[in-house]
């Protein structure tokens, strides 16, 4: 037994020996001033986020519309920041000393409240251009704890298409709370194409952990890059836009308020989307944004507003084309139907919808001459076909929705399209009481007025439907991501309106007449070598001069382009909208302008200051 219990000392020896070995090893690791110790004092590990450049945006012909340019942020690491010549630093990066003090004191306050870590880099000055960089870089040694961080910013070779391209900006907390990918300070597409194709364009940011010495020089990657994630380059996006047409449209629309949308009918590809007044997209980038954005925001002409897809305007007489199609489909209207027009349409003893002087019209002529009385009668007969006004109205409204009005094309890649307004029967029930309204009560809908609201995109889409004789493809702006063809992948659907092919002949004939036959409302838009079919309109404006509306497509056979255009306060559709659309069509189809005088008049026209 004694010998047995003596064995415990062998155990004690083994345990003691191991503990001693550990203590000696610890001593060697911790006490002498060795590499292990120096390492921790000399180096810091910094988490560096590598932002890949956003993908370029190209037009349909491969021309560069949006690319990138590098800019620099001045960052501070609070834990490493030493007292510096603040004034010199502020002068170098072009900020006020008071601003610098404000930023840094906020940072220290947050650190004190334990809301952020002292080792986290905070931006002091952002978006410094290359010119700043070269002068600052050589003086950075004077500012320990500060360093410059490179990042790509958007650059627009041509100052066009600001609205549809959209812009990129810093994420706010609503985004960072929703999507963990984004960290405060990250950039995201805020509007337009930049928003719609954010994920493809942005690529994926990478995170790299690097050792940095006291001068903030990178000293190699941390753990051999074990925790790094590689950044993935953003993909290039080819749009359906035609840069030249876009630019031409913007020139034509200078000093006018309004919008143009041009679409390739058989594909639904948006060729141009112009909203005027516009702004130089470069003004929304980096430091420019701070300079120009407040002004753009306050501008009474609302240059930031994309009028092409807004709610705003009654579609006016362009609606009559659709009215003619619905009437035929419903079997209440035939090519030889004649509705009398004595200069207007009598609603009641005291009220009538006015019209201009012209001979009594059949269907074709009613379009060509845009007779109000005729379409009041057509609307009346469509609604009256059914037992109640409500039932008839709902039938009519369903057609209108199928034509793309009152809806925002949910499968489109254009963000923030407004629905416009096609009132529901409930709306009229509420306004006039149940059963308190008839077709005549709401007769102005028949000529595209009243509560109706539509935008240039929807009007251009109506032109597409006529050009396609009954259907449209969802209007869209994305063509290819990298090499992937978006349409081929089935992103954009074909929508049938339910109007039979045969009913289009007479309507197209009328639209042909409107532009090409003497007496037509849009004769000013006639081209000798290209057959344009079109329809004018005037959107009533209770606040001032009426808006000029026009829709068209060309050529008549095998249509290549459909256009919807609205010019605010321009009066009758033929005066401004039709000539501009005609010039756009000529530019797109032939690339030459045969009517320089008309072009000059349109370009120089100023409808804003009047």
């Amino acid at each position: 037994m004694n010998q047995d219990s003596a064995i415990k000392y062998i155990y004690y020896s083994i345990f003691g020996f191991v503990a001693l070995a550990f203590i000696i090893k610890l001593f060697l690791l911790q006490i002498p001033d060795n590499a292990y110790k120096q390492f921790a004092n000399m180096y810091a590990i910094r988490r560096v986020v590598k932002y890949p450049a956003r993908g370029n945006i190209l037009d349909r012909k491969g021309n560069l519309m949006v690319s990138n340019e590098y800019a620099y942020d001045l960052l501070m690491i609070p834990a490493e920041a030493k007292p510096i010549d603040t004034l010199e630093l502020c002068r170098l990066v072009d900020i006020e000393k008071s601003e610098f003090i404000k930023i840094t004191s906020q940072v220290w306050a947050r650190i004190k409240e334990r809301k952020m870590s002292k080792t986290q880099a905070v931006p002091i000055a952002k978006d410094l251009s290359k010119e700043y960089f070269s002068t600052i870089q050589e003086k950075m040694y004077k500012f320990p704890g500060y360093f410059l961080d490179k990042k790509p910013l958007r650059k627009y070779p041509k100052p066009i298409a600001a609205h549809i391209l959209g812009y990129v900006g810093e994420v706010d907390t609503t985004i960072t709370n929703k999507n963990p990918y984004y960290q405060p300070g990250d950039y995201i597409g805020i509007s337009g194409i930049e928003k719609a194709y954010e994920e493809a364009l942005r690529g994926r940011k990478g995170v790299k952990k690097v050792f940095v010495d006291v001068h903030n020089n990178e000293k190699g990657s941390f753990m051999n890059g074990m925790y790094d994630t590689a950044s993935v380059q953003g993909e290039n996006l080819t749009t359906t836009l035609d840069m030249e047409l876009q630019e031409y449209g913007e020139i034509l629309m200078r000093n006018k308020k309004g919008a143009i949308v041009a679409i390739e009918p058989k594909t639904g590809e948006v060729l141009a989307m112009i909203s005027s007044p516009t702004y130089d997209p470069n003004q929304m980038v980096g430091r420019n944004k701070r300079k120009f954005y407040p002004g753009l925001l306050l501008d009474k002409t609302k240059p930031l507003y994309n009028r092409a897809i807004m709610d705003g305007y009654p579609p006016g007489s362009t609606f009559k084309v659709m009215e003619a199609l619905i009437g035929q489909q419903e079997g209440v209207l035939f090519p030889n139907t004649v509705h009398p027009c004595g200069g207007g349409y009598r609603i009641s003893a005291t009220h009538r919808v006015g019209c201009h002087a012209h001979p009594n019209a059949d269907l074709r002529y009613s379009i060509q001459t845009s007779c109000n009385a005729y379409y009041c009668a057509v609307f009346n007969s469509i609604v009256k076909k059914y037992k109640t006004a409500r039932e008839g109205y709902n039938v009519w409204r369903n057609y209108v929705l199928k034509f793309g009005f009152g809806q925002n094309f949910p499968d489109s890649d254009i963000p923030n399209i407004k629905k416009g307004n096609v009132p529901t029967s409930d709306f009229y029930d509420k306004r006039y009481g149940k059963g308190g309204w008839r077709a005549l009560t709401i007769i102005s809908l028949g000529i595209g007025q009243g509560e109706l609201q539509a935008n240039a995109l929807q009007i251009a889409n109506l032109a597409c439907i006529v050009a396609n004789r009954g259907y449209y493809i969802t209007p869209h702006v994305g063509k290819k991501i990298g090499d992937r063809d978006l349409a081929a992948e089935g992103h954009f659907q074909k929508h049938e309106t339910g109007i039979d092919d045969k009913y289009f002949d007479i309507v197209i004939e009328g639209m042909y007449g409107a532009v090409n036959v003497p007496g037509g409302t849009a004769l000013v838009g006639k081209l000798n070598h290209i057959v344009i079919c079109g329809k004018t309109g005037t959107a009533q404006n209770p606040h001032g001069k009426d808006h000029s509306v026009f829709m068209a497509y060309a050529p008549r056979e095998n249509p290549q382009i459909a256009i919807g255009i609205l010019v605010e306060n321009a009066g009758f559709g033929a005066t401004w909208a039709a000539p501009i659309a005609s010039l756009m069509i000529e530019k797109y189809l032939t690339d030459t302008i045969t009517r320089p005088a008309l072009e000059k008049r349109m370009m120089e026209g100023n409808l804003i200051t009047q």
Partner: protein
């Protein structure tokens, strides 16, 4: 009832109790430090490791006091049952378990509650070994009558059949855990052999074990012929001078056959049975390769963090490398790197000394047991604790191969804490009733 409770408290080993509480508490605050982040800045943040560990500590203390309600006879009587149940759960985990960090050793109950049966296998094995080795007739060494001697191919070994049974009872759970791909915990079962030494297991088994390890590694590095030549030489020496000591020429021949077979088998095993990461780990251990992505890096970074601690350390919650999560697994297998960085040489040494004291106290307590069952069990607990201590801190300071096992009571992990609480508190219970056993 109350008088009985008083006697229990009165006989409780205060030093062991204090040691247990200190290690658990010290572990907890280091887990807090190593898991600390801006989002999880409270020690009671139950979504972070520190908060979860607090819950596990509460549960473990509850478990400990619960164990005190049992009579010591319970553990003796149910040892085979507990052992069997653990074996069943080890088999079940192989079938239904989930793989966490490469080990198929977890029952996942919820995403935050996972149970690792292998942590309880140590307890069950210790218990069952105490049961059979605690028998008065048990002995590793065959007596003169030798009716109990283990024989193989008619050759008498330096071990009894009972002794052989004890070894097999260790090997079964070890093999199952090895199949779970958990090499670290498998190696822990070697600690039972360390305890066997106290109870008379012949030293030839240790020699055989050590030579086997040497043969294994040298066969990987050097040509088979060279290793066999060395073995032959050793055999001749043994034959010439130590024949009687070893137990006759038959044993020597058998041992030589065994080593020759092992030598021939090593290369095929190394190349075909072991996985790439095993091979890599062996190469790193042998100094043939620097593994800068896997365990080699972990050890390197752990040494960096410890080294940066200096004499007094950077202070609680002030370890910059700890904060950066510089050392992987720093709240589990590498918790000692946090201790080293934040508490420095002084703090680390104190922890090592307290650990050493705790294990030595376990041995001392085991020695004073009147019951053989208690004594065997106490040694098992001490040896398991020591093995973990040796491998864990050894890994963190770069003195032992990185096998990835926790530092008992200190590292983060519910299963581990519960497993060691079971081990230790059952012994505390046994010890508290020691004096009631009549000699």
């Amino acid at each position: 009832m109350s008088s009985r409770n008083q006697s229990i408290i009165g006989n409780l080993d205060g030093w062991l109790m204090a040691g247990y509480l200190f290690l658990v508490f010290f572990g907890w605050i280091n887990i807090y430090s190593s898991s600390y982040s801006e989002e999880h800045s409270s020690i009671f943040d139950f979504s972070a490791e520190q908060g979860k560990q607090f819950i596990w500590i509460c549960i473990s203390l509850g478990l400990g006091f619960f164990l005190f309600l049992f009579d010591t006879k319970f553990f003796q009587a149910f040892s085979f049952f507990i052992y069997g149940a653990v074996l069943v759960s080890l088999v079940l985990v192989l079938i239904f378990g989930q793989t966490v960090a490469g080990n198929k050793s977890w029952f996942v109950i919820t995403s935050s509650i996972k149970i690792q049966p292998s942590e309880f296998a140590k307890f069950a094995t210790a218990l069952v070994l105490a049961r059979i080795m605690g028998d008065n007739k048990f002995s590793f060494t065959p007596g003169i009558s030798s009716g109990n001697q283990f024989k193989f191919l008619g050759i008498p070994f330096h071990i009894t059949k009972d002794g052989m049974l004890a070894i097999i009872l260790v090997l079964i759970p070890a093999a199952l855990i090895l199949m779970e791909n958990d090499t670290g915990t498998t190696l822990v079962f070697l600690s039972f052999f360390l305890a066997f030494f106290r109870f008379g297991l012949n030293w030839i088994f240790f020699i055989t074990g050590v030579i086997s390890i040497i043969v294994f590694f040298t066969s990987i590095l050097y040509p088979v012929g060279f290793v066999l030549a060395i073995l032959a030489l050793l055999g001749l020496i043994a034959f010439g001078s130590m024949r009687n000591l070893i137990g006759g020429w038959k044993i020597i021949v058998l041992l030589l056959l065994f080593f020759t077979g092992l030598t021939l088998a090593v290369k095929p095993i190394y190349n075909h049975v072991l996985k790439e990461h095993h091979r890599k780990r062996i190469m790193v251990l042998l100094g043939q390769e620097k593994d800068m992505k896997g365990s080699g890096w972990n050890v390197n970074n752990s040494k960096m963090a410890i080294g940066s601690g200096g004499v007094l350390g950077k202070g609680f919650l002030k370890g910059s490398l700890t904060k950066l999560k510089y050392v992987p697994k720093q709240h589990t297998d590498f918790i000692f790197s946090t201790v080293g960085e934040e508490w420095g040489f002084v703090g680390s040494t104190v922890l090592i000394l307290i650990y050493l004291f705790f294990i030595m106290r376990l041995v001392a307590a085991a020695e004073r047991q009147r019951s053989m069952f208690n004594k065997v069990y106490g040694y098992m607990v001490a040896c398991i604790m020591f093995f973990h201590f040796f491998m864990n801190i050894g890994t963190a300071v770069g003195l032992a191969p990185a096998v990835g096992i926790p530092l008992p009571l200190v590292s983060y992990g519910g299963s581990s804490l519960m497993g060691f609480t079971l081990l230790i508190w059952v012994f505390l219970k046994l010890d508290s009733q020691n004096l009631q056993i009549l000699r």
